[in-house]
């Protein structure tokens, strides 16, 4: 084999322009698998544990109340099934109000923790992005799949709850969970693209937002407008309350959450496009 340059034939432009592209669609299965193994499983475990801790004692109390009701009282109240269904509705409402906020926040935290930052810190980006692949496409797809994965874990937890206690999965619940998750996850994604300590940053943003809105939310100063730079996390309770009580969802508020999350996600993509991956 020749070891000199002079014998190398000139490569034509046609050959040079041949383009290879990563098969990101094919890689989606691996990304969803990674979510389920590394992030979805802990979310399910934590969700199940929280669910058990919250609903377990309430279930015990409910069963005790049912046992204490005399057959006459039960008959007056519409029968055992009717009474139980009413109690389950009450229990589910309380459980949702207590659980949903934590579950969505932790779910987003687990799903987004280190999504970009870990690959940069641990050097995994080197092999990934020496392939014909743009970081924003790779992580953008991961974000969407993790979102779908999270809704999958919520479905799984909901089905378990449904089997043990009573019906809980509704379109309203999915809509609220999906949009609130988008808010938290979008922020976490942007932070992961921009900073190394993304999970800590998400906690800091959440605490700072709650504090800022609580402290300055009522002021009429012109500077109060700056509060809108913070996510409206102080109002998540309104959404969870509407879901648990079965009242109309505050759609304008949900749109605010979704817009904030989507904007943060786009900022994260821009950061990935513009920023160099190596940490120096």
């Amino acid at each position: 084999m020749s070891r000199t340059m002079s014998t190398s034939p000139q490569v034509t432009r046609t050959e040079l322009s041949a383009r290879t592209t990563a098969r990101l669609g094919g890689y989606a299965l691996w990304q969803i698998r990674d979510y389920l193994m590394d992030r979805g499983a802990p979310t399910v475990l934590v969700g199940a544990l929280f669910g058990y801790m919250v609903s377990g004692p309430m279930m015990g109390a409910m069963n005790m109340r049912l046992e204490r009701l005399s057959p006459t009282a039960l008959a007056q109240m519409g029968g055992y099934e009717t009474v139980r269904a009413s109690m389950v509705t009450e229990l589910t409402s309380t459980a949702l109000e207590l659980l949903l906020g934590n579950l969505v926040f932790l779910g987003a935290l687990f799903a987004m923790n280190g999504i970009v930052a870990n690959d940069r810190k641990l050097g995994y980006y080197r092999f990934l992005f020496s392939k014909p692949l743009a970081p924003e496409r790779y992580y953008g797809q991961a974000f969407v799949l993790h979102w779908a994965g999270f809704l999958g874990t919520i479905t799984m937890l909901g089905l378990v709850y449904q089997a043990l206690v009573g019906p809980v999965l509704t379109t309203r619940l999915y809509a609220a969970v999906a949009l609130l998750y988008l808010c938290y996850a979008g922020i976490a994604f942007a932070l992961s693209a921009a900073a190394r300590w993304d999970w800590l940053s998400l906690v800091a943003v959440t605490v700072a937002s709650n504090y800022a809105w609580g402290r300055f939310g009522e002021t009429r100063s012109a500077l109060a407008g700056l509060l809108y730079l913070f996510p409206p996390i102080h109002r998540t309770g309104e959404v969870y309350s509407a879901v648990s009580k079965g009242t109309t969802l505050p759609w304008s508020l949900l749109a605010w959450f979704a817009a904030y999350g989507a904007a943060s996600f786009v900022i994260g993509l821009v950061v990935l496009r513009v920023r160099r991956l190596a940490i120096v």
Binding site: M5, T20, A22, W30, R126, F129, S130, K131, L277, V280
Partner: protein, 312 residues
């Protein structure tokens, strides 16, 4: 194909101090070349490679691959890259890691299996196929890194310390693999501390020190030159006392083994004739440093003092 035009890279340390990792670096690498990068630790080799892959952007100057900015080139065509540290998630299994990288390298789905199997065989990873990455030895991990780099048919191959951690058998096998990778339209860039390795594999070697290109050595042409004053080692089987008479200043470094500083190739030959005429049996004569190593030592200013080598 690859053009560095007065490329510079500066960092600012967390204390605010400016670090110049690369300065005024200009170089062109043509298709068909196997090009070596040599330099002491911290010389700027890794920075150069990060710039080439678009993982870093230059502070000054311009860098292009096929007329495109590096990141753009990589995203369009991909680069076969083996980093000095093989960073693959430790929980991935060998086969699945290769499958993943094959998909990302753009291999059609019907080719993935055959290509992965071929790489496992070529790099002797078949018996480790179901192991997790964290269970691999250093040498096997290095081979896995090499396997993922060679899954595609990229026209730019960048190998950073490719034989690091490989045993002699696999070092030789790597040379064979590399020979098969040579193609007229392909550039292979190898960064290594191992100058003998570079001398064997590369057509040209750039010597970098303190962020600057010190010189580019044409390895084949360099092999034919003898550097004036370069030390030689002479090993004699008998009459070793005669060596000092024939070569004044010869230093005995081991029993029957002498280091002499020659003035020229003619002087060495004349001395050897006299030595053999005096009855000495010469077992071996070889330069202490390979021609490339000699160039390296000159370029980075390695000094020899009291038997101890010190880099500046």
């Amino acid at each position: 194909m690859i053009v560095f035009d007065q490329v510079g890279k500066r960092y600012r340390s967390w204390q605010g101090r400016e670090v110049r990792a690369l300065e005024d670096f200009s170089l062109e690498i043509a298709p068909g070349e196997v090009f070596g990068l040599a330099g002491p630790n911290g010389a700027g080799k890794s920075t150069l490679i990060s710039l080439l892959l678009g993982f870093l952007g230059p502070s000054t100057g311009m860098l292009q691959i096929d007329g495109l900015a590096p990141r753009r080139y990589v995203e369009r065509h991909g680069v076969s890259y083996l980093s000095e540290l093989v960073n693959i998630p430790p929980t991935w299994r060998v086969t699945s890691a290769l499958r993943r990288y094959a998909i990302l390298a753009g291999l059609p789905s019907h080719e993935v299996h055959a290509r992965v199997e071929s790489m496992l065989e070529t790099l002797g990873l078949e018996e480790h196929r179901s192991k997790r990455v964290r269970q691999l030895s250093k040498g096997n991990l290095q081979r896995l890194g090499l396997a993922q780099a060679l899954l595609g048919e990229e026209r730019v191959i960048v190998l950073d310390e490719p034989t690091h951690g490989l045993d002699p058998v696999w070092t030789q096998r790597f040379r064979d693999v590399l020979d098969q990778l040579r193609r007229p339209d392909r550039v292979i860039l190898i960064a290594s501390h191992n100058l003998d390795e570079l001398a064997r594999l590369a057509d040209r070697v750039a010597i970098i020190d303190r962020g600057r290109l010190q010189r580019v050595v044409d390895v084949r042409a360099n092999e034919r030159t003898v550097t004036e004053g370069a030390p030689y080692r002479i090993v004699v089987a008998s009459c070793d006392t005669r060596v000092g008479d024939v070569f004044p200043g010869a230093r005995e470094v081991a029993s029957g083994e002498f280091e002499v500083r020659a003035l020229s190739l003619e002087d060495i030959n004349a001395g050897l004739v006299r030595l053999m005429q005096s009855g000495a049996l010469v077992r071996a004569v070889y330069p202490v440093h390979s021609p490339l190593e000699q160039q390296f030592r000159e370029a980075v200013g390695v000094q020899v003092s009291a038997g101890r080598e010190e880099s500046r």
